[in-house]
Symmetry: C2
Subunit: 76 residues, 2 copies
């Protein structure tokens, strides 16, 4: 029996609910690696500290990452 | 004496050394907030787990965030 690589992804399930820029306290991006074959994007909510796994392939999430990376937070 | 808001930023100093996509284990984006008035982008290096504060206004870092968020890691 060959040794198998253990897959250790943080996200079990993608949360597809809409997410507000202003509610995000932190965004973590974990690139694909040998321990997890897909990129993971995890948002930590500001108020509740709840963690949500976002869909890296969604256009809305791509814009979110872009907007969160900008100098000032948007009010929209 | 009025109560002053405590500024708590993670980054003290921006690390301007070039950074390789493939060497990054995690990228954290912390939006501007009441505790820190600027957006912070922190890379955790894969091998050493060293944390580096990146410049959110640099074009190279903007492309890095974009490329790290993509499904598969780039070999370049």
């Amino acid at each position: 029996i060959p040794l198998s690589r253990t897959v250790r992804c943080f996200c079990i399930k993608i949360d597809d609910r809409p997410i507000k820029h202003r509610a995000i306290g932190k965004l973590e991006i974990i690139p694909a690696s040998q321990s997890c074959p897909r990129v993971e994007i995890i948002a930590t909510m500001k108020r509740t500290e709840e963690k949500r796994c976002l869909n890296p392939e969604s256009e809305a999430i791509k814009s979110l990452v872009k907007s969160v990376s900008k100098k000032r937070s948007k009010r929209a």
